[in-house]
């Protein structure tokens, strides 16, 4: 039997999940003494095979699958008699994940979470901790809005955007919706990986972005602390003020409550 493989020689495990607009690079290794099969994806309205390159001497074929629209298709390899020579593989095409408009509170919060919560590639990362961190960050923002004070940099604020744009409060966000280059490219990289069907990190990044969207879109959040979460800091970088009490360190950020 022939075998579909990724370009790093690992066997393709069904189903192949990709993203609309993405291109996946694969290869097909024929069984012993088999000729190079014909590769196709159907229906072509969902995904299509492009750039087929037969390496006759080395006896394998490289090709790409271009995801056209959201749906399900089947990848097959057939011989001259149209018989399957490899187990057909489902190709699932998902829609792209996008951030809400930057003018909305949801868009603002999602970008803040992606910038401030460690990514799936950082040591110690778990999706559960990332969600908790995002949730607590939202609580901090809401508390600063509900109770404006210079103690947590929100004196005179009337909107969520005021809270997050407050001078020197959240790195790179004081000119929002324009972000400093470093923060903008971090967010762009995150979204690019989450939408790249050819990237082995995609599923973890997609779940990370989905979590940011879910918590940004929640109607209300409940403060987990009794005295109110009002600050977070990079773990180990000291207290935000003498009025703060350490609540908990979660995924390399330390959250603080009032005394």
């Amino acid at each position: 039997m022939a075998e579909f493989q990724h370009m790093d020689d690992t066997k393709v495990t069904p189903p192949i999940t990709t993203v609309k607009g993405s291109t996946i690079h694969l290869k097909l290794i024929p069984g012993a003494k088999e000729a190079l099969p014909t590769i196709s994806v159907a229906p072509a309205t969902v995904a299509k095979v492009i750039n087929i390159k037969e390496r006759k001497q080395a006896n394998f074929t490289t090709f790409e699958i271009e995801a056209v629209t959201v749906g399900k298709a089947s990848l097959t390899a057939t011989d001259a008699k149209k018989a399957n020579v490899a187990t057909p593989i489902d190709v699932i095409v998902e829609d792209k994940v996008t951030l809400p408009d930057s003018k909305t509170n949801e868009g603002l919060l999602a970008r803040l979470f992606i910038a401030e919560v460690p990514s799936p590639e950082e040591s110690g990362y778990t999706l559960e901790d990332a969600k908790t961190s995002m949730f607590w960050m939202r609580v901090v923002v809401e508390n600063r809005l509900k109770t404006p004070s210079s103690t947590w940099g929100s004196a005179g604020v009337t909107t969520m955007q005021d809270v997050i744009r407050a001078q020197n409060q959240f790195e790179g966000f004081s000119g929002y919706p324009t972000l400093i280059n470093r923060i903008q490219s971090m967010i762009d990289d995150t979204m690019s990986i989450a939408n790249n069907g050819d990237d082995t990190r995609r599923s973890k990044y997609k779940a990370f972005v989905d979590a940011a969207l879910e918590i940004a879109n929640q109607k209300a959040v409940t403060d987990p602390s009794t005295k109110g979460l009002f600050w977070w800091r990079t773990a180990g970088s000291g207290s935000p003020t003498s009025d703060a009490v350490l609540y908990m360190t979660k995924l390399k950020n330390t959250f603080y409550t009032r005394k």
């Binding site: 590639e121 950082e122 110690g124 929100s154 020197n168 790195e171 490219s185 600050w231 935000p240 003020t241």
Partner: protein
């Protein structure tokens, strides 16, 4: 990496053992202890990541090697590990959290010329500003137990 004679390495190992045994008196947080990032699977040799980072910062390969000093900290309560990388030429402290994430995407790159305030009262709730005392302590820890690297862009 800077190469050291065996006797110096031995002295460094002894010093490290002492540091690992006792919480740092003046660490980043009261409960922080030192850790050697080189022995951690999630950290290890930073040279490839530093090369890639320099490239991302548009430091040309023909430029002189850049100086980095790295010092590791571990929270004794949350088992959370981090290292700070001091990039001398650009006056920056880069948070290295381990794992495969690119250093350019570090959650915190502290600009020692802009992000440092005099006292805790001047932080005024910021998530990222640090005090001069904190920055001095990291640089001092780096001088005493940090590992130094000279790296060129890739």
């Amino acid at each position: 990496m800077i190469r050291c004679p065996r006797a110096m390495l031995s002295a460094r190992k002894t010093r490290l053992a002492v540091l690992l045994a006792f919480p740092l008196l003046l660490a980043q947080d009261a409960a922080d202890i030192a850790f050697d990032f080189r022995n951690e699977a999630a950290f290890g040799d930073p040279t490839p990541a530093l090369r890639e980072f320099l490239h991302s910062q548009h430091v040309a390969r023909r430029k002189p090697a850049q100086s980095f000093c790295i010092v590791g900290y571990q929270s004794s309560t949350a088992n959370e590990k981090r290292a700070w990388i001091h990039w001398s030429q650009r006056h920056k402290l880069i948070l290295w959290s381990g794992g495969t994430a690119a250093l350019a995407n570090s959650r915190r790159i502290t600009d020692l010329t802009k992000d440092v305030v005099a006292t805790e009262a001047d932080i005024q709730g910021s998530t990222y500003l640090v005090t001069q005392a904190w920055a001095n302590q990291v640089l001092s820890d780096c001088a005493t137990r940090g590992i130094k690297y000279q790296v060129r862009s890739e």
